[in-house]
Symmetry: C2
Subunit: 539 residues, 2 copies
């Protein structure tokens, strides 16, 4: 254990010594053992422990425990887990711009007496998945966890305990304090996801990275990238160059499109991992494949390449089900993309395959799913693929708005896990309110409240708490063209879905969430997020 002594205390002690030696006798009392640090006054805008989003499981405030972050603060990594080191570096990067402090990250206790104020250490007991304990005391913040996910989650909680000014990208001269006490926390579901469709409109890697920054703060731990669709193929595949030469050159409305080179994609994956987020790549098959069909004639049953497509209809395209070329293609694509992503999931789409018969659809997945499991990945698919024989590791993602889907409940009975993305609560491409000019509306309006007020474990018949891997908020981009559109549609509904995924149902309450969310307007504005000021919330 590092000794609880700071250079501030030493300076104070020297000052006191000077005072008392001066014989005045009226100086402040010297520090005693009971009160080793001067008490920290909290600036008015310092959040309380329970105010973070998503709501933490248990908080125990301690008014005597307030902590002040100063230019002398250092971050000490006690854990030997590499993610603890990454989380510590990430914390320092988050806090440096606004505080202007250097916040060095050290792996070892310093030789001198200065205090390492923020410590990331292994939990003494085994915490649940992504669980963490955050103890804020006058001289020390201790973040303990049993896994990388726990460290990243704890870092986000600590960040949110600092005032909104900490989100600015330029130094702000002020007192940086954290309310004292303890948070003990872990999520309801292991998977808290967001999806970005980079196929309908393409977004450059730097836009995706900024989106990752924004998602991570709400403990979103998976970003599903919808990499291919009728309108565009967005990932470089060696051996299939026309996918990106031809298939990437369009987007909805006829814009220039684009794609990620393997190097750019790897960079996104690493960037996300450094923020506690796993990239889930989706290669949508056998439908939603016009971009591939336009690139390679041999993927079409009639041997003719299709025309590039820039509209917004669905359900018209299909790989040729009974052609070996299709499976050579699928095998290459799956092995290449699986090799780019260290995470456990590979999303194979499977939705809206209206140009194939049920039998064709089954034949397709019978051949393709083993490619995914052979690559060491768990397949994920939209719920339509629950109609096929799924391996036990496969995950079903439910996206419709009906309360019954027999194939999905049957899969759940068979032990397959389910990700809940019902469009009427989690689809970020829907309008917030009917009268809004932005967004789709086939699933109705999805207000911030609608994104919040639902229970994943009671939505779908036969799919209860135990069957659920988690929740995901998909952002389809037929109408989303600019980064500001992403921000408008994603925030603040992402916070709502993030809390649905993190906080136990019985601890969630719309009025309480609404009140906590209100303070996040300032935080988001400081980050430059063009969020939608949904009038349901007092910003």
């Amino acid at each position: 254990m590092p000794r609880l002594v700071t250079s501030i205390i030493m300076a104070l002690a020297l000052l006191l010594a000077a005072c008392t030696s001066g014989g005045n006798g009226d100086g402040p009392e010297p520090p005693t053992e009971e009160s080793p640090m001067p008490p920290v006054e909290l600036p008015e805008d310092t959040p309380a422990l329970h105010e973070i989003v998503p709501a933490p499981r248990a908080t125990t405030p301690d008014a005597d425990g307030n902590f002040e972050l100063t230019a002398d603060t250092e971050i000490l990594v006690g854990s030997e887990k590499s993610e603890a080191g990454s989380a510590a570096e990430y914390l320092a990067e988050l806090l440096r711009p606004a505080t202007g402090f250097t916040l060095p990250v050290r792996q070892e206790q310093r030789a001198n007496d200065e205090l390492p104020l923020v410590v990331l250490d292994d939990a003494a007991d085994e915490l649940p998945t992504d669980g963490y304990r955050l103890e804020v005391t006058p001289g020390r913040v201790e973040l303990s966890a049993s896994s990388g996910g726990g460290f990243f989650a704890g870092v986000q909680s600590l960040r949110q305990l600092l005032p909104a000014d900490v989100e600015r990208d330029e130094p702000v001269e002020r007192t940086w304090a954290v309310a004292g006490g303890t948070i003990v926390d872990h999520p309801r579901f292991a998977y808290r996801g967001a999806m970005l469709d980079v196929a309908r409109h393409f977004f450059e890697a730097d836009v995706v990275k900024r989106h990752i920054d924004r998602l991570a703060q709400y403990k979103i731990n998976h970003l599903h990238l919808h990499l291919t669709d009728d309108q565009g193929w967005r990932i470089e595949i060696p051996g299939w160059p026309r996918l990106t030469e031809v298939g990437a050159a369009n987007e909805v409305g006829g814009g220039p499109g684009g794609y990620y080179t393997q190097e750019e994609f790897r960079d996104i994956v690493t960037y996300a991992a450094d923020r506690g987020i796993t990239i889930v790549p989706e290669i949508d098959m056998p439908g939603h494949t016009n971009a591939a069909l336009a690139s390679y004639a041999e993927l079409n049953c009639d041997g003719n390449a299709t025309e590039p497509y820039t509209g917004t209809h669905v359900g018209f395209s299909s790989l040729c089900i009974d052609s070996d070329t299709t499976y050579e293609f699928a095998a290459d694509v799956i092995s290449e993309v699986a090799a780019l992503t260290p995470g456990e999931f590979f999303h194979i789409g499977g939705d809206e395959a209206e140009a194939t018969t049920d039998a064709e659809y089954r034949r397709f997945f019978d051949r393709v799913l083993p490619m995914i499991t052979d690559a060491g990945k768990r397949p994920v698919g939209w719920h339509e693929y629950a109609a096929v024989d799924l391996p036990e590791s496969a995950v079903v993602q439910y996206w419709r708005i009906e309360a019954d889907h027999p194939d999905t409940s049957a899969a759940a009975s068979d032990g397959n896990q389910v990700i809940m993305s019902p469009a009427d609560h989690s689809y970020l491409d829907m309008k917030y309110h009917d009268s809004d000019p932005w967004g789709n509306s086939w699933a109705g309006a999805v207000s911030t409240r609608a994104a919040y007020e639902w229970d994943p474990a009671t939505y779908l018949t036969g799919v209860g708490e135990e069957a659920i891997l988690g929740v995901e908020a998909p952002l389809w981009t037929e109408l989303v063209q600019e980064e500001s559109d992403i921000e408008r549609m994603a925030f603040p509904r992402t916070q709502a879905v993030a809390e649905v995924g993190w906080t136990p149902q019985e601890s969630r309450d719309w009025e309480d969430f609404r009140s906590r969310l209100s303070a996040h307007g300032e935080r988001m504005a400081a980050q430059g997020i063009d969020f939608h000021p949904d009038p349901e919330v007092d910003w």
Copy 2:
């Protein structure tokens, strides 16, 4: 006058001939002289004549006069005014992307019988400044005006009579109709302005151009660019290279800054003129000059260059009032910038010169104002400069929130015109509502309603209707960093101030405006404007 015959009618006539020759006898009635065109059904989303923003002076709907824009539509320029040609080209550019029509612009009647459906022609009578008459009949839209300003204003009205889809940047297959009838319209004030501060944060020319596109649609006819301030000098001045080498290299918060080359600036001026907007350049003197003072030691009384400044305080800087170098500098800058801008105004700032005495301030303007008039321009200055001896052509811009300003009312009595920009109604950098995370608040919140509900002619004691040149909505950019921030702060308050400037006071009503504005949510969204969905309006 071109003949009212179209190829459509000809085809219909041929068809009818075929029918009747077939002997059936039950075919539709042949066209008669009273009804020369088939009636045009208006799609539901076609705006009514009175729904445009700013509200027009007089509208006379004619349900039999609906006009359909088709692939055959052409634009004929009857007027010989060059602005009529520019306005016609601009109209075609506005309508082509969404309609997908070629919309050729012709200076002369075609030899064949096809109908030039949109005609821009000189008004038979002399219309008031920027006045126009728009007559929509089944085969023909006639826009007549007596000035360039009238043609550009009429083009914006016609544009707004088409459905919101016309604002999309990709072809939409649909019927494009315009409600029949007549609009006769002219503005209350000659000057309807917006200001963008490119000094506190710099915005590249393409951002300024997009802003011009957005402003023009609401009949804003002046864009005042605040080109210099303590934090940055944004315009290249030959002979004073350090202004841009040193003075442009910063902005609020320490960002990289930037500046416009003379060529870029000329390009902005031309781009604006092609949309009916005059650029008003502001070189703020003698205060707000730290960027210049940091660039040239000799502009400082002590001969030492100041440090670059990236904070947001005001009132600390001044050119050295009694140094001849100051006036060499001012003369060069004024003549260079005046030469770049063909418009009649040159804004010389004059605000918050707290580092000069009153006497110094007077001596400064006594020498500088003649430089502006000698360059053939009318000086404009913030209202503080009403304290000096103003030439008759000088314009005073009032920006405070007090109802009395003796110097300004004295200037008005002397015949100087006034631009009204009271901060509590027209400052776009203020928050919309107190609880918003975006914006300043020294003048209180400026909601859309507050931006709408005021009368420029009764705001300031001694400054009535006759003294007022117009209104302007300034957007200061201490807190505005990105284009989406400009859009959020400017829209929809710009529409409110635009209508204050255009529509007579007695014709204005908040509830009516609110209802018309509501339809502009869709229009702005189609243009990709990240406007603020102020909850005062049902979007």
